[in-house]
Amino acid sequence: MNTQDVKQTVIGIIADQAMLEPGDIAMDSTPESLGIDSMGLVEAIFAIEEAFDISVPFNANEPQGSEFDISTVAHIVTGVEALIAEQRA
C-alpha cells in the first residue's frame, strides 16, 4: 500500500467516525474539531488496526501521553505509516 492509499484509508475511517464526507476532513483537523469523542477515537483506532493489520499503542486514559500521536489527522497518518514500516518490516 502506497502513502496515498494509507492517507485515503485513514481519512475514510475518520470521516466514517465523524459522519462526514472524506472531502470535509482537513489534514489539520483535530478529533475534537470533527466531533470525535474518546470512545469514537478508540473505535477509529480499532478500524485502523484492522485496515492495516497493525497494533496501535493507545490508552484512552492518557491520549496525549500515548506513543501514538492523535492530535491531528496529519499526525495520525504519519503515525500509521511509521507503524506499518515498523511492524511489517
Binding site: S38, I45, S55, F58, N59, N61
Partner: protein, 402 residues
C-alpha cells in the same frame, strides 16, 4: 422499619483467601496485583491483574462439584462458608423460608464460556460437557449458596456491571429492613480473568499495563481483579436475641441512573446516589468519616467521583477520607463492591482506614484526602461505599457503627 446488621463476612480475592488476611493486607497497603497466569496470556497486551493465586480448587471441592461450579461459583461458596461460620446461623423451618440470597456478578460463568467456545470453535470439537449451561448461568452461584445453606426465601442474581454487588446488597438490605426477610446472604463474585475476559476489556483501551493508581495524576487505567465477598445481613433484633457478634449496621442505600452515556460517568448521577444514601439513612453529611471510592484509576472515573463527593459534602469533603482499595485487589467488576465493603467494616469496627496505594502525584481534579499509600487510624461513625457502573447505573451503601 427493621434495623439491619451484618453478622458474618467472608472473602477470597487477590489479597487473601479470607477476611483476616485481606484486612491485614489492606492495613499494610500490600498490592495483590501480579502477572496473570492462564492459557494464551501471551496473546494479550494487558498481562497484569488481581488474580487469586495459591488456590487449589480440588482441595476445596470434589470432582462432581467442580463439574458444576465455575470459578465464580467456587469463590462465592468459599466466601459464603466463611460468612455463615462467623454468623453462626442455621437455616430451617420458618427462618429458612424467610431468608434468601441475592448476589451480584457481571460475567457469571465467563471462564466456562471461554473454555467451551475455545473447544468448539478453535479446537473444532463437536461435543461439550453436559453441565455447561448450569455452570455458566449468572444465577448458578446464588442457587448453590441457597442449596448449601437451605435458604428457601427470595433469591436471585443482579447484574449491573461494576455496581452489581452494591445493587445486590442494597436489595438484600431493603428486604430485611422492610420485614420481608429475616436474614439474607448477599455480596457478589467475579472471575473474568481468562483470555476472552481480558481481551474484551483490552479493546476498550482503558486498562493499565503496569498498575492501578487511583486519584494519582499519573494514573493510566484500571486493572481487573477476581474473587468474591459474601455477607450475612440480619434483622438487628434477631441477631441480638441470639447473641450474635455484630460487625456493623447497614443504615442507608440509594441507586440512580445517569441516563446519559454507556461508558462515560456522570457527576450528577453519582452525586444523586451518594446524597440519596445519606437521605435514606437520615445521615447528616458531617457524620461521614470514610468513603470507599469506586476509584477505578481511569482518568474519567476518578475526577468525576471526586467532583461528585465535593458537590454532595461541600466544605465537609475536605474533612473526610476517601480511598480506593482497587489499587490493591484490582477491579472485581460485579464482585467489587462486596470486597470493598470489607474496607468499610474495618474503618467502622477497627478504626483503620485502608489506603490508596500506588499514589505518586496529586491531581488537582482529585483534591480530596485519598489516604495515599499508608493506612491510617481514625474513629469513623459512618462509612459509604460507592459503585458506579458502565451504563450509568450507580449504587451507594451507607454503614454505621452499632
Amino acid at each position: 422499619m427493621t434495623r439491619v446488621v451484618i453478622t458474618g463476612a467472608g472473602t477470597i480475592n487477590a489479597l487473601g483467601h479470607d477476611v483476616p488476611t485481606t484486612l491485614a493486607a489492606m492495613r499494610e497497603g500490600r498490592c495483590g496485583i501480579s502477572e496473570l497466569e492462564f492459557r494464551d496470556v501471551e496473546r494479550l497486551a494487558i498481562r497484569i491483574g488481581g488474580q487469586v493465586k495459591g488456590y487449589d480448587a480440588e482441595a476445596v471441592f470434589n470432582r462432581q462439584q467442580l463439574s458444576l461450579y465455575d470459578r465464580f461459583t467456587q469463590f462465592t461458596l468459599i466466601a459464603a462458608r466463611q460468612a455463615m461460620a462467623q454468623a453462626g446461623l442455621q437455616f430451617s423451618g420458618a427462618l429458612a423460608d424467610r431468608s434468601g440470597v441475592v448476589l451480584g456478578t457481571s460475567g457469571g460463568g465467563l471462564t466456562t464460556q471461554d473454555e467451551n467456545y475455545r473447544a468448539v470453535y478453535e479446537e473444532g470439537k463437536n461435543r461439550v460437557h453436559p453441565f455447561v449451561v448450569p455452570k455458566l448461568m449468572n444465577n448458578a452461584a446464588a442457587s448453590h449458596v441457597s442449596m448449601e445453606f437451605n435458604l428457601r426465601g427470595p433469591s436471585f442474581t443482579v447484574a449491573t456491571a461494576c455496581a452489581s454487588s452494591n445493587h445486590a446488597m442494597g436489595q438484600a438490605f431493603q428486604m430485611v429492613r422492610s420485614g420481608l426477610c429475616t436474614a439474607m446472604i448477599t455480596g457478589g463474585s467475579e472471575s473474568m480473568l481468562c483470555f476472552g475476559g481480558v481481551k474484551a476489556w483490552e479493546g476498550l483501551r482503558v486498562m493499565s499495563k503496569d498498575a492501578c493508581r487511583p486519584f494519582s495524576a499519573t494514573r493510566n487505567g484500571m486493572v481487573q481483579g477476581e474473587g468474591a465477598g459474601v455477607f450475612v445481613f440480619e434483622d438487628y433484633e434477631h441477631a441480638r436475641a441470639r447473641g450474635a457478634e455484630i460487625l456493623c449496621e447497614v443504615i442507608g442505600f440509594a441507586m440512580s441512573s445517569d441516563a446519559a452515556d454507556i461508558v462515560m460517568p456522570s457527576k450528577q448521577g453519582a452525586a444523586r446516589a451518594i446524597l440519596g444514601a445519606l437521605q435514606d439513612g437520615g445521615i447528616a453529611p458531617s457524620r461521614v468519616g470514610y468513603i470507599n471510592a469506586h476509584g477505578t484509576g481511569t482518568a474519567a472515573n476518578d475526577k468525576t467521583e471526586c467532583a461528585a463527593v465535593a458537590d454532595v459534602f461541600g466544605p465537609h469533603a475536605d474533612h473526610l477520607m476517601m480511598s480506593s482499595t482497587k489499587s490493591m485487589h484490582g477491579h472485581l467488576i460485579g464482585g467489587t463492591g462486596a470486597v470493598e465493603l470489607l474496607a468499610c467494616i474495618m474503618a467502622l469496627r477497627d478504626g483503620v482506614i485502608a489506603p490508596t496505594i500506588g499514589y505518586e502525584e496529586p491531581d488537582p481534579e482529585c483534591a480530596l484526602d485519598v489516604v495515599p499509600n499508608e493506612a491510617r487510624d481514625a474513629e469513623v461513625e459512618v462509612a459509604l461505599s460507592n459503585a458506579f457502573a458502565f451504563g450509568g447505573l450507580n449504587a451507594v451503601l451507607a454503614l454505621g457503627q452499632v
